[in-house]
Symmetry: C2
Subunit: 363 residues, 2 copies
């Protein structure tokens, strides 16, 4: 911890506190997991197994065999469905909510099926492969009056929430510049036949898949949306032909605040985010990965601190937040309209990369 | 120091070593300081007072009074000249080299005067206010066959040199993404009547004045030049009307490497530089300021280290390097052609900001 008297002293317990949590005596929220790819199997299902306010009761996949294979290792599964059976309304009594984690271009169908059965929806980001399908998805939830949360797991990550509080409380003065980066080596986890390389199913590759992390987290921390953007994309390896392997992009926020970001699916696994203000600076290492050590450093007129809190399971925080909000009868956030902003920004980024020009947004 | 076995173990003594230094029995190089603004008085003259291979013998300023006032606090001054007296060749026997640190748009005249008298030249960056005047300056030095070095003090900063070696030796694999930032609060040091706010004398404001630090240092460390650029500039305070207060810019390097940078003259004094590669990451905090603590962190397959070497005086390193090269009869680097690349890149950045479009460079 720092040497200056602190503007806002978080001890490490309060640092990681669930400021959103209000336990109730309501039953656990029962989830149908829609899509059993590696993210659902390795991150979502284990997170829910350890969660306080929810449980997995139904598994939905391309085949009964795949769903049953995943179910064999789990307790409490009441139904294993194909996508068709799910769409036809099988086992609707066995779940209260769905987690949709399929290729982006299939989200709309799965969300509309859930909305038609009055289920609450936690849908992975980006919302869909196109702005039009995303809007239809959001409209369907609004018309059915079902809760829709977009699965931005950073918004319930304590380090991102404390960063937002510090900046809101003036720890670094007015923000002027922002720098963000995220990289991984997706070809280690997925081969080039993956839907992630199919523009129709994904809607884009690197900007779409991981550019959304700095984009959305900067929006969350600043509590503002971009007004104009620019992007440049590059593709070096054959798997990325016709799509984007590396990207650099700029976001113009109100009052002259400029964000510069880089993302790549072909570099070491790392991420960073930095806010420079009139009175100081706040940086976070490792923010965008789900279970890793984060380091938040903040230096300002009245604060000089470094925090390395015990890592949380970001997916567990997200699921418990969503479930606890439902238990309390409250709509979870970020909602569909929030997710639509990223859809329009990402479309503008690709348009900019295509044209080599700045693109203004009319959000 | 790190826990992994190290690819290249610098101890802190060798870390800060002057790898360029070869003492000779030649006389100290005698400098005329041309331009006695705050940078010359507070940084250059004190650096030379402590230097091993050079000395200040002549002071050149707008008035004899100003030059004499500065001389009163110094030993060994043999001449105090006005710019006109300097141009007319006064006291040329009393100096061997000039350090030109005037408004950018006056560099050409002062350099040409020195070249005409066969003096070696250390000229501040950017070389001039326009590409055309910079080219004329470089041509004049080549025609007179005098050494011209552009005063990029980062190129003799040990932390930048060690970063270059680490990357060259493969510590982080192939570089994919680069992030850079520099900010200060120039209105604390200069009021709005300063030449820095006059496009004719400066050639630009923030991009020109401090954007050149990440631009040139990335070029130096990668040993490559940008092929295309994009920039966005913003001006919020009245002093910056018609010029740039904040900027974000992208540089496209060969093989899909993308750099994203932000600079501002209206934020806390801070700087950072980060290289993300296929096998690791290297970041430097505080690099661009002359006498401050730097922190270099490198993490890769075979290395995991943090270096916080004793800060050097960057201006002393620069002057001693320049002088030691002259003593050995060698041309100092970076030369005029190297400086011309930045001139063309900065012109392209401003053109890009004006048009809202990517600009390709034909370097």
């Amino acid at each position: 911890m720092g040497s200056k008297s602190s503007l806002m002293e978080f001890d490490l317990d309060s640092f990681s506190a669930r400021d959103w949590e209000r336990p109730t005596d309501a039953d656990a929220v029962r989830f149908a997991m829609v899509g059993l790819g590696w993210w659902t199997r390795e991150h979502a299902i284990p997170a829910v197994e350890n969660a306080d306010y929810c449980a997995t009761t139904v598994l939905v996949s391309s085949s009964t065999e795949k769903a049953e294979e995943v179910a064999a290792d789990l307790e409490g599964i009441e139904g294993t469905l194909t996508y068709d059976e799910y769409a036809d309304g099988a086992a609707t009594d066995a779940y209260d909510a769905v987690y949709v984690c399929t290729p982006n271009g299939l989200h709309r169908d799965h969300v509309e099926a859930a909305a038609a059965r009055d289920k609450a929806i936690l849908c992975e980001k980006p919302l869909e492969a196109t702005v039009e399908d995303a809007q239809a998805l959001v409209d369907a939830c609004r018309e059915a009056d079902v809760p829709l949360m977009v699965a931005y797991r950073l918004q319930t990550e304590p380090v991102a929430r404390r960063a937002r509080e510090l900046i809101r409380d003036g720890a670094i003065g007015d923000v002027v510049s922002i720098l963000g980066h995220m990289s991984d080596t997706i070809l280690d986890a997925a081969d080039e036949t993956s839907w992630r390389f199919d523009p129709d199913l994904a809607g884009g590759t690197t900007l779409n898949d991981i550019g959304i992390y700095p984009l959305n987290t900067i929006r969350f921390i600043l509590e503002e949306d971009p007004q104009a953007v620019y992007a440049r994309t590059e593709s070096e390896q054959p798997a990325y032909e016709g799509t984007d392997e590396h990207a650099a992009f700029q976001l113009e926020f109100p009052d002259g605040k400029l964000a510069s970001c880089t993302v790549t699916h072909s570099a070491t696994v790392t991420s960073s985010l930095r806010f420079v203000g009139t009175e100081g600076e706040l940086s976070i290492e490792g923010l965008f990965f789900p279970n890793t050590q984060k380091v938040l450093r903040v230096s300002g007129t009245d604060i000089e601190s470094e925090y390395q809190p015990e890592p949380v399971d970001q997916m567990r925080e997200e699921f418990d937040y969503f479930a606890n909000r439902l238990q309390r009868g409250l709509d979870p956030e970020p909602d569909g309209e929030h997710g639509m902003v990223d859809m329009r920004v990402i479309r503008a980024l690709y348009e900019s990369a295509e044209r080599g020009q700045r693109v203004k947004l009319d959000l």
